[in-house]
């Protein structure tokens, strides 16, 4: 099973990386860029353990909470596919 996890800064948190990219895009001749937010994406391949899907989802959520995301300043979302 494959999990795709997206981790993004919360909307209220400043994103200097995104701002830098926005300014670089403007310098490169893309003036219509109003905002850029940078995030992270993880593709996780999980061994086929025969566990039911809700249990796998619980594990992926735990991975996010314990390691992949800093839940004070970041939100995460994930999708699972066979």
């Amino acid at each position: 099973m494959k999990a795709t996890v997206i981790v993004e800064l919360k909307g209220s948190v400043l994103d200097p990386q995104g701002k830098a990219i926005q300014h670089s895009l403007a310098s490169l001749g893309f003036p219509g860029v109003e905002d850029v937010r940078a995030g992270k994406l993880f593709r996780i391949t999980l061994a086929d353990s025969g566990q039911p899907r809700p249990e796998v989802e619980r594990q992926v959520r735990q991975m996010c909470e314990k390691l992949l995301a800093n839940t004070v300043i970041e939100n995460f979302s994930y999708t699972l596919e066979e």
Copy 2:
């Protein structure tokens, strides 16, 4: 219009960050993780320029090729939504 761009290392390129995450997950008690690949995600807000969608797509592709992705070692994909 909003563009979501995903930039990922090509499959043939080693991903030390992903490997480090995989090992950390194993240490944290998630033994069933077979592989982790780390990528980047950008949410780009574009001014409503009245341009046709193919033209906007062309611009987003150019942003990826010129700045967001290193096409020697990375692939990119994007989605557009109103």
